[in-house]
Subunit: 192 residues, 2 copies
């Protein structure tokens, strides 16, 4: 049975994390201070250090949480049998995930926070996501390393353009199906 105290500690940790996410969504990924987070949870800034060793550690926990969310979302996704439908669905899922929470997207996929590098533990989660993606692509007949790299470039490119240049519209998300068709036409035509 987990310690009562440890559980309470974990809950406060999560409360801090939630406050950080809220502020990041309001003011941008790097537009918040520890003092603001502390105020949000009814503390003073130095008290946060009982829960996170630094501001970077908060970013790291956010990185892990974001990766876990993406993992959960792709796992929960319906899986059409047809390869084309499958890849369309996974691409749409990914771009939607990015557009739904731009700061989360920036944290996970752009290197936007000045000194931040995810810890090995958090990065392992992100690699797990890529691993699942590789599985889905293989199921659709796409196996080569180069094809996977091209896929990630294509899909993150769509997401980046959408988030950076038309955050409230659908100018690039509307292109997802078309982009997938283009990709498949090329990759399935030359299978190896």
């Amino acid at each position: 049975m987990t310690d009562r105290r440890a559980r309470r500690h974990e809950a406060t940790r999560q409360e801090i994390l939630d406050a950080a996410w809220r502020l990041a969504r309001e003011r941008g990924l790097t537009g918040w201070s520890l003092r603001e987070v502390a105020t949000e949870v009814g503390m003073r800034a130095p008290s946060l250090y009982g829960y996170f060793g630094s501001k970077e550690a908060i970013y790291d926990a956010m990185f892990a949480e974001g990766s876990a969310q993406l993992l959960a979302r792709t796992d929960a996704m319906p899986r059409p049998a047809d390869p084309v439908d499958l890849l369309r669905a996974v691409a749409r899922e990914f771009v939607d995930f990015c557009v739904a929470d731009p700061p989360r997207y920036q944290l996970l996929f752009l290197r936007v926070v000045p000194g931040f590098v995810p810890s090995p533990a958090s990065y392992a989660l992100a690699e797990e996501v890529l691993e699942r993606l590789r599985g889905v692509l293989a199921a659709a007949g796409v196996t080569s390393e180069r094809a996977v790299d091209l896929w990630t470039a294509l899909v993150t490119g769509l997401a980046t353009q959408q988030v950076s240049n038309d955050p409230d519209g659908t100018r690039w998300t509307d292109l997802v199906d078309h982009a997938v068709d283009m990709f498949l036409a090329s990759e399935l035509a030359t299978p190896r």
Copy 2:
């Protein structure tokens, strides 16, 4: 004839800008302070305000300078007559430009600096770049708005992946020709 003093002022301005670029390349786009820039040019931080109204104004001048460099580089590019060769060349030129100076790339194409939005004057330069690109794509037979958007997503996606995940390698730059072929096969097959 321009004022001696005005010329000297302009030279100092450029000196500050060069120092900022140098520091940005060393420590990351947002990893430098005004005090460091000032030291680099032999001043104290407040003196910089005689040349730029704020740190953001420095970023804005850097943005304009980066856009001008991209513009100059694409203008100076050899222009193969064959559409496929042309697009391959322009794509390679763009990705090389991005990879050659990651902070510059982040400043121009990712929204990485917390509060920074380019001024209308600087942004006009960036739009000029896009305008030239539209011209090149049209010369290769690609005219639709959607196709241009897909192109930018594809090319910036390759650049982002390269810069973010393999900054010293060629994992994604090696895919540029292949990506262009894929794009053209799809877009020229369905011209409108």
